[in-house]
Each structure stands twice: as structure tokens, then as C-alpha cells.
């Protein structure tokens, strides 16, 4: 993001129509939140709800959210499902492979806090925030598609207020 640090803050004004003047922050934030590409990362039952949200009834594509198979192409890691300790080392590697700016949404009870396996699950990581920083938590077991959409909209709000030109 070094090129953005060299942008001047003054903007030229044009009087005739068809020209929009905005700040680079707002333009970049708008473009980032309108096409949040997420990872094909369904681990357990929450994956079914993620697929249902991507399907035609609730349709994630109208928000610009499409699934991608590689961590190099994505903005959001949507951890949906139970995170076992065996998988946790792989999730850490995927998170480190993602390019900035990256976000993580923890979907469902298992990814938030271990879920129904919190007490006796010797093999379950009690919440994916023990290994990666999470931006939005979506409760539910599994969360309804509307809840997942609400989580994405909350993340959009967070991106809208971010600033790429200045460090925050």
C-alpha cells in the first residue's frame, strides 16, 4: 500500500455532469466491500448453511461474494464448522498465505468458542480466535442464512470505515 501513502489529499472539482469526485479511501473501501471473495472453507455442518446462502434463494453473489479455492485470491476466510487441532495448523498456514487486507469471519458456535464440544472435546480447538484474529463472530448452530448475510453486512460496515491511506 505504499503508493496510496503518496496520494495528495486535495481533489479537483469539475462543474459539468457525469463526473464523481470522491476520496480514494471511500472509493477503495467501496470497491473492496462490494466484492469480498471468500474461501471454499466448509469444515462441518455450517458449510451446508454457507452453501445454502450461496445458492439461489439467499444468493451471496448479489453482494459480490464468490467462493475461491485458493488462499491467495481471497479477502475473507469464512471459518464455518468445527476446528479440530489437526486442522488448526493448516488454518494458520492458510491465514498466513492470504494477502493483506484480509479478514476472518467465524461462523457458527464451533468456530466461535468450541460449540457443543467445549466440555469433552479433546480434539477440538475451542474457538478459531485462539490462532487467528477474527473480525466478525456469527453465533448459531448453525446460523441461518440470514444470520450469515448479516455477518457479511457487518463486515462491510467495518470495511467502510477503514482507511487504507493512513495506518489505523
Amino acid at each position: 500500500m505504499g503508493i496510496l501513502n503518496k496520494l495528495d489529499t486535495h481533489i479537483e472539482q469539475f462543474e459539468s455532469g457525469n463526473i464523481i469526485v470522491t476520496s480514494a479511501d471511500k472509493l477503495l473501501n467501496w470497491s473492496r466491500l462490494s466484492s469480498m471473495w471468500q474461501m471454499f472453507f466448509g469444515l462441518a455442518c455450517c458449510a451446508i448453511e454457507m452453501m445454502a446462502t450461496s445458492a439461489s434463494h439467499y444468493d451471496l453473489d448479489r453482494f459480490g461474494i464468490i467462493p475461491r479455492p485458493s488462499p491467495r485470491h481471497i479477502d475473507i476466510l469464512l471459518v464455518s464448522g468445527t476446528v479440530t487441532l489437526k486442522m488448526a495448523t493448516r488454518i494458520k498456514r492458510l491465514w498466513e498465505q492470504m494477502p493483506e487486507p484480509k479478514y476472518c469471519i467465524s461462523m457458527g458456535s464451533c468456530a466461535n468458542c468450541g460449540g457443543p464440544y467445549w466440555e469433552h472435546g479433546y480434539h477440538v480447538l475451542k474457538g478459531v480466535d485462539r490462532i487467528i484474529p477474527v473480525d466478525v463472530y456469527i453465533p448459531g448452530c448453525p446460523p441461518r442464512p440470514e444470520a450469515l448475510l448479516d455477518g457479511f453486512l457487518k463486515l462491510q460496515e467495518k470495511i467502510r470505515t477503514q482507511s487504507l491511506a493512513k495506518k489505523n
Binding site: C113, G114, W118, H123, L125, K126, I131
Partner: protein, 159 residues
Amino acid sequence: MDIKEIHGILKSVFEEGISEPVTDKPVDPYMIVEANKINAVCLFLRDEERMQFDYLSCLSGVDYDKDNLAVVYHLYSFALNHKLVIKVVVPKSDPKVPTVSDIWAAADWHEREAYDLIGVVFENHPDLRRILCPEDWEGHSLRKDYKVPEFYNGMKVPY
């Protein structure tokens, strides 16, 4: 064929190492076979004309709390529509059982699971390693005296 007839045939062929069928418990009647004979007995059960147990429904490991481990085999015959339950009981200090994966291919992964979770070591198994837990996991998780580890690779395990 019911279990008493099967027991009669097995006794006439193998003579010793096979216990009487246990029928008074509220479960399927079963027989206990000694560990060193299980391969020969299972091969006989699969190939013999009158029995033809060609399907291994399930192979499970068991932890009996007082220093014994067991392996339970559930067999079924598609041709003759009868089933059988066999157990092998081994001490916890030396839990070795010959494998039956050369007789029924399904036993391959079932035995890996019994090794991973209970700790029964299967001799002559083609690929005996953990199947559910990670490769560097310590301990056998479904034993009665298993303690949950505090940390695994830097991650805190309990809640």
C-alpha cells in the same frame, strides 16, 4: 446357523482357544477367541461352506477398565443371512492382536481406528498409523484413564 452350532464346528476344527458362547447377557451372543488364533479362525469362518462370513460389519476396540483391552468383530454372511460376534481380549500391558485385514479389506481402517483411539497394536498390518488424531498426538484418546493434554503445538486445548 445359531451360535451354538458355529461353536460346535469351530471346536471340532480348532479344538482349543475358543470359549463357550456367552448367551446370558442382554447383548448379541458372542464367543471369546484367543489372540494368537484369531487369524486362522477368521479365515476358516470366511471360507467354510456352511458359514461364509464374507462381510465384516464392524471392528471395534474396547477398554475394559481393569487392565484389559478387547477387539470385537461383528461378522455377517450375505449368502446364508446369519451373523456372529467374536471378541479377543488382550492385556493392557501387551495389547497385540494379529490383523485380519488380509481376510476382510474393511478391517484395514477399522484397525487403524482401534489403534488410534484404544491403543491395540495389530501385527502384520500393512499401514498401522493414526487415522483420526494428528500424527504427533500423544496418548490413546478413548481409554478410560485418558487425560486431556494441556497444550498441543502451542494451542491451549481445554476450554
